[in-house]
Point group: C2
Chain length 337, copies 2
C-alpha cells in the first residue's frame, strides 16, 4: 500500500478539486491510501458528495492556510497549523507515509521539502523537475526549474543523474536522452559552468547525454530531460507556458471576432480543443522535488481535479518503481569511490 | 544623408532578399545611401531587376562568405574577403558610414562588432537587443540576449540604461517601462546578481524601472524592455520563438487534418494569417548591438526582403535620433562623477 498525504488547500479551486481528485484516485487504485490535510468540516462536506472506500482515507485537521502572499520560509516555520506544514509533519514523522502532494505556494513547498524532509545522502541540492508535453506526444523534464537560482558544476551533474532516473522510473522511458540547456548546440558554447558540465556529462556512462540544447527545441520531442540551473530553467518553463497561453488567447479572440470566424470555428472546434487539451497541464502530473528523502510533488495552483488525480498516480508510480532508492544508490556509491 | 553598409550574404535567401529590401528602402527614402557588400556580378544581376537611384548605391566586391559553420572569431580574423568582414572594414574605416546590417552568422556579427568596431567610451560590454511583438501590438526589447553569457552587476545596469535609450530613440516610446528578468516578481527574488541589480535600478532616476518580470509575462505588453544576462535572455527569446513556431505548426496540421477542418479553415484563413503575420519577425526590424561605436543590426537568417527593408529603416531612425550620442553622453557623464 502506498500512503500519500495530500495538502488540500492553497490552490485556486481548493479544497473541492483536491477532494474530487483524491476520491477518483482512490476509486481507481486499491493500493493507495490517502491522508487529507485541511479543515475537517470543509473536507468532510466535500467528501460526502462521493462514494469511496473510507478505510483508505483519513483527514488530519489543519485550520490554517499558506497563501502565495506568505514568505515561504516564514510560512513553513510559523504557520504550524497550516494544511501544508501539517502535511509535511505527517510525511516526516511517519516512515510508512511515502509521498506528499500540494498545489499551494511553490516557494513554500520547496522550503518545506528542504527544511522538513531533507536530502538523500550524497545529494548536494534537491532540484525541482516539472514536465511539459512535446509535439510528438512524449514528455520532457526540466531539471532544475527554480529550486536553485545559483548552481555549480556538481549541482548540474547531479540534476542530470537524478532527472534521468526520474524520467525512467516515472514515465518508463528507457535510456532517456539528456541535454544541457545552452545558448548554442556546439560543444564549446556557453559560460564556464556549461563548458565544464558538458565535459563531465559527455564522459558519464551512467546517462545518455546527447549534447547541448537550445531553448527553441524544448518541445521538439528530441529530448527527454533538459539540465539547467534553476534560474534559466525557470525562465524556460515560464516562457514556454506563457507563450502558449498568449497564443491560445489570441486564437480564441480571433475565433470570436466575426460571424464568419465563428462559423469556421464551429467546424474546427473539436480538433482545436485537442490542441488546447494537449497544452493543458491538467492532463499531466506535477513537478517533482528530486533528491529529497521522500517523494514530493507540486501541482499547478490553478489546476482542476484531473491534475490532482494525475499527481497521485505519479506519486504512486514513482514509489512503486523505487525512484528514491535508485537515486540513493547512485549517490551512495559515488561517495564510496 | 545616412550611409548604411549592407552585408548581402549569409542568409537563407541571400543575396536576392538583401538586394530586394535594399532597393525598396532606397526608393522609399531619399536620405539613405547604401553600400552593398558581396559578389559584384551576382549583386549586379539582382539589381538589374529593379529601378532605383543609382547615385545612392554602390557595391563593394567581396568574394567570400561567412557561414554558420564557421567559428565566429576565426571567421572574422581570417575570412578577410568575406562580405561580412568587408562590410565591417567599410564601417570602421569611413567616418561617414553610420551603420551596418547583416543577416549572417549571429556569432560572427557579435565578434565583428567588438573586434572591428569597439565600444563607446564607458561601456563595459556591448549588448545584443532584439525585439518581439507583444499582445497589445507594442514591442518589447530583450537586453542582453546572447552577446554576454556571463554578466556582472555593472553589465546589467548598463544594459538597462542603453536599452531604455534604444526603445525611446528607435520606437518613440516615452519613458520606457524597464523590468528585470527574474524567477519571481517580489523584490527579494532571484540570485545575488539580480538582488544587487534590483536595488541599483530601483534608485536610478534616469530610467523608469518597474521591478522584476517573470518570463511568462514577456508578451503581455506591460513592459518595454527586459534586462537580463545573455544566457537567460537567449533562453527567453528562443523559447518564446520556438513555442510560437511549434504551436503554429500544430495549428496548420490541425487545419489540414480533415475535410471538415479544411472547410472551417477557409472561413478563418484571413484572420489566422493575421496572427501568423503578427508573430512573424519579417515584419519587424533586427536586433541591435547596443554600446558599439557604430550602429550594427542583425536580422534573422531566414528573413525575407521586407525584414531587410525594416532593418534599414530601423538603422536610419536610430541614426537620425542620435542613439549613439545619447548612450555616449550617459556613460561619459558617469565616468566624470
Amino acid at each position: 500500500m502506498i500512503k500519500i498525504v495530500l495538502d488540500c488547500y492553497g490552490g485556486d479551486r481548493s479544497p473541492s478539486v483536491n477532494v474530487e481528485g483524491a476520491v477518483k484516485a482512490l476509486n481507481d487504485n486499491n493500493d493507495i491510501y490517502l491522508i487529507l490535510s485541511g479543515k475537517t468540516e470543509e473536507l468532510t462536506n466535500e467528501l460526502n458528495k462521493y462514494t469511496y472506500d473510507k478505510t483508505r482515507l483519513e483527514i488530519v485537521d489543519a485550520q490554517d492556510i499558506i497563501t502565495c502572499d506568505d514568505k515561504p520560509t516564514d510560512a513553513i516555520r510559523r504557520k504550524k497549523e497550516s494544511s501544508m506544514v501539517k502535511a509535511f509533519d505527517i510525511l516526516k514523522q511517519n516512515d510508512d507515509v511515502n509521498a506528499l502532494i500540494s498545489i499551494g505556494s511553490t516557494g513554500a513547498v520547496l522550503v518545506g521539502s528542504v527544511l522538513k524532509i531533507g536530502r538523500i545522502k550524497g545529494v548536494d541540492r534537491p532540484a525541482f523537475c516539472p514536465i511539459l508535453p512535446t509535439m510528438n506526444k512524449k514528455i520532457v523534464g526540466i531539471c532544475d526549474s527554480g529550486a536553485n537560482a545559483e548552481c555549480d558544476v556538481t549541482n548540474l551533474v547531479q540534476f542530470a543523474k537524478m532527472g534521468s532516473l526520474y524520467i525512467q522510473k516515472a514515465f518508463g522511458v528507457e535510456n532517456p536522452k539528456v541535454a544541457l540547456l545552452n545558448i548554442g548546440t556546439e560543444e564549446e558554447k556557453g559560460d564556464t559552468l556549461r563548458k565544464e558540465v558538458y565535459q563531465i556529462l559527455k564522459n558519464d556512462e551512467t546517462i545518455n547525454f546527447v549534447g547541448n540544447m537550445e531553448s527553441r527545441d524544448l518541445l521538439s520531442g528530441n529530448y527527454d530531460l533538459v539540465v539547467c540551473d534553476g534560474f534559466s530553467g525557470n525562465v524556460l518553463i515560464k516562457s514556454t507556458e506563457g507563450t502558449s497561453l498568449e497564443l491560445l488567447k489570441l486564437l480564441k479572440k480571433t475565433f470570436m471576432s466575426s460571424l464568419k470566424n465563428k462559423i469556421g470555428a464551429l467546424f474546427l472546434k473539436k480538433d482545436i480543443y485537442k490542441i488546447k487539451d494537449f497544452m493543458d497541464y491538467n492532463n499531466y502530473g506535477g513537478g517533482v522535488m528530486l533528491g529529497c528523502r521522500k517523494t514530493i510533488i507540486k501541482g499547478h495552483g490553478s489546476c482542476k481535479a484531473n491534475s490532482i488525480y494525475n499527481c497521485i498516480n505519479q506519486a504512486y508510480t514513482i514509489e512503486k518503481n523505487n525512484l528514491r532508492e535508485a537515486i540513493s544508490h547512485v549517490f551512495d556509491t559515488e561517495e564510496e569511490k
